[in-house]
């Protein structure tokens, strides 16, 4: 038996496999037993109703997909009255995800979702398609520190801060979030990109710019997880391009305590559970009694081949 539990601050998850916000709803119970997941992560909610961005909202790329959904939401009241009870039909902890345009509203939103049924608050300060310029709090450490400090004061619940890979210096943002009192970091949201339809000369998606996700972004985000894990003490949740067991192992070796998945849900709706089974099997075969022992276990030295090459004299 492999111990699959992981601890994120004072929250213990029965396993490190979670869906990413925006790629998950209880509607996935159409195809899988979502009670097996480590946690349920709701789609980001804003105070007011948001219609989202105009279609088409997705296009394929060479390396994955680009999307611009634009955070459609029925608003905080609907979330609390209808969606939260719907999530509570299931057993895993509920991670509520919030977004706002201002620090004031972020603070107020935090108080609003601070209800007994919400176990963790994920703070989405990093959606690249929320406004057309791709701007957000997670683009700058001062904004991140400011908004996270306000949120920290507004709740005693665990707060997970979702970072943007589009910031120039993600490590600085990670430190700012930690300093402001975040309990964990989710690294990361999607990477801002542009696809042009060469038949029409127009952008391929309605919002022009969109967020790139899928296997192509994984090495970039794994690198960010590793860099941030060396700079902060709080747990990191790796998120980007996971499609197989080995990807989860990589994220954990890089320093992640748990992972979130989005794209794979679109390709293999029941793939998260296959990866969960496969991860336990992988640990068993490699002699890991606890999956948590993988976290940060990357050997931070050059590959063996580098030594072999150095030892071979060049004439």
């Amino acid at each position: 038996m492999v111990d699959m539990t992981v601890k994120i601050g004072n929250v213990t998850l029965k396993n490190p496999i979670m869906p990413a916000s925006g790629a998950f709803s209880t509607e996935l119970a159409q195809v899988m037993d979502i009670n097996r997941l480590g946690a349920l992560v709701a789609k980001t909610v804003s105070r007011e109703y948001r219609i989202g961005n105009p279609p088409p909202r997705v296009a394929e790329l060479e390396c994955g997909m680009i999307n611009s959904i634009g955070l459609p939401t029925k608003g905080i009241e609907y979330f609390l009255e209808h969606q939260v009870p719907d999530y509570k039909r299931f057993t895993p902890p509920l991670v509520g995800s919030i977004s706002a345009q201002t620090a004031d509203d972020f603070e107020a939103m935090t108080r609003d979702v601070d209800v007994p049924e919400v176990d963790v608050i994920e703070v989405n300060i990093s959606c690249p398609t929320r406004n057309p310029g791709g701007g957000n709090f997670a683009m700058h450490e001062d904004h991140t520190f400011n908004v996270m400090s306000r949120i920290r004061k507004a709740t005693a619940k665990p707060v997970w801060c979702k970072l943007s890979p589009n910031a120039g210096d993600v490590v600085a943002i990670a430190k700012a979030a930690e300093a402001a009192g975040a309990d964990a970091l989710v690294i990361a949201n999607t990477i801002l990109g542009l696809k042009i339809n060469i038949d029409t000369f127009r952008p391929a998606i309605g919002n022009k710019y969109g967020g790139i996700s899928g296997p192509g972004v994984k090495p970039i985000i794994v690198r960010m997880v590793h860099q941030c894990s060396k700079a902060v003490k709080i747990p990191i949740i790796g998120c980007g391009g996971i499609v197989k067991v080995e990807d989860v192992v990589e994220y954990m070796l890089a320093g992640a305590t748990a992972v979130m998945m989005g794209y794979i849900i679109f390709r293999n709706p029941s793939g998260m559970l296959a990866i969960l089974d496969g991860l336990e099997e992988w640990c068993r075969k490699r002699g890991f009694a606890r999956v948590a022992d993988l976290t940060g276990a990357m050997i931070d030295e050059p590959p063996m081949e580098t030594f072999a090459a150095a030892a071979a004299p060049i004439r």
């Binding site: 790629a23 989202g52 296009a59 899928g214 197989k244 080995e246 849900i265 293999n268 296959a274 075969k285």
Partner: protein, 287 residues
């Protein structure tokens, strides 16, 4: 354990198919391809062996298909495909599709004996009211395929079916034999201009006058949908439209496949995958 790359067929869980769980209505499954033939230069007919859960598909529902790549690149997203024929006794489901982009070009490479990864059955299908004695289905092009199962179901319930099949020319009249088995076929063509909206309107008005139109069903043409919507409103006939949209998850969470609808003067976006693909004709705005 070797890498399971995204391009490889993804076998979920154990090799044994999961037991049918009644509270989990859909599933991801690998279906052996039984036959896969061109029916004309653009349309292909795919027959796969289906699991018991897949066979619970209702007319108008769809499956999200993981198509093989047609080229050196990867296909990252599934392609939604409504079911064309449900062969419960034979344990088969059939698709009829137009080869139009990378997804369907990749799908077209499947050969008998290959396995197709499907997710489904998904979405809200057509509704057949027991009080209806005669229905009219109006489809264009490959949209006709979506209307075939509801026509068969209606005929099986003793309901009279008139199928108006619109296409460029005779070669592209899809499945008229299948519609012929279940009702009256009225082909309308671009080649002799019988597919003009004015002519289709005359045909529909004739059916209404003859009391052969208790309900309308349509798919595949915005022009014909608008016509049917107008006549349905004027004559108080209930109508349903099956719609398409680019999708990602096919299950609801991603909010990619939205289209515009209008209820009591208020416009709203709905997801084709879970609030449709079949919608009330009067609420559909079109595309």
């Amino acid at each position: 354990m070797g890498d399971v790359f995204a391009s490889a067929p993804f076998i979920v869980g154990k090799s044994e198919p999961p037991p049918i769980e009644t509270d989990i209505p859909a599933e991801e499954a690998l279906c052996p391809v039984i036959s896969h033939d061109w029916v004309n230069e653009e349309y292909k007919h795919l027959v796969v062996a289906a699991s018991p859960k897949a066979l619970t598909v209702r007319p108008g529902q769809f499956f999200n298909l993981l198509c093989p790549s047609p080229d050196a690149g990867e296909l990252w997203l599934r392609r939604p495909q409504s079911v064309y024929r449900i062969d419960d006794a034979g344990g088969r489901i059939e698709f009829l599709y137009k080869c139009v982009g990378r997804g369907t070009r990749g799908l077209a490479t499947l050969k008998a004996g290959d396995r197709l990864n499907i997710v489904g059955p998904l979405g809200v299908g057509f509704h057949l009211d027991p009080s209806w004695r005669n229905i009219v289905v109006l489809g264009r092009g490959v949209g006709l395929a979506t209307l075939a199962p509801i026509s068969q179901l209606a005929a099986g319930c003793g309901v009279g079916v008139t199928a108006i099949l619109s296409a460029r020319n005779r070669d592209f009249i899809m499945a008229d034999d299948l519609f012929g088995e279940v009702g009256t076929v009225v082909p309308v063509l671009d080649s002799d201009r019988s597919s003009d909206v004015e002519n289709v309107e005359r045909i529909l008005l004739g059916l209404i006058a003859a009391k052969r139109a208790d309900a309308f069903f349509t798919c595949g043409s915005n022009r014909l949908m608008q016509l049917m919507k107008r006549l349905a409103r004027q004559h108080g006939i209930p109508g349903q439209v099956a719609m398409e949209q680019v999708m990602a998850c096919g299950l609801g969470p991603c909010y990619v496949c939205v289209r515009t609808f209008e209820v009591n003067g208020r416009k709203e976006l709905r997801r084709v995958c879970i609030e449709g693909p079949v919608f009330d004709l009067q609420e559909a705005v079109g595309w």
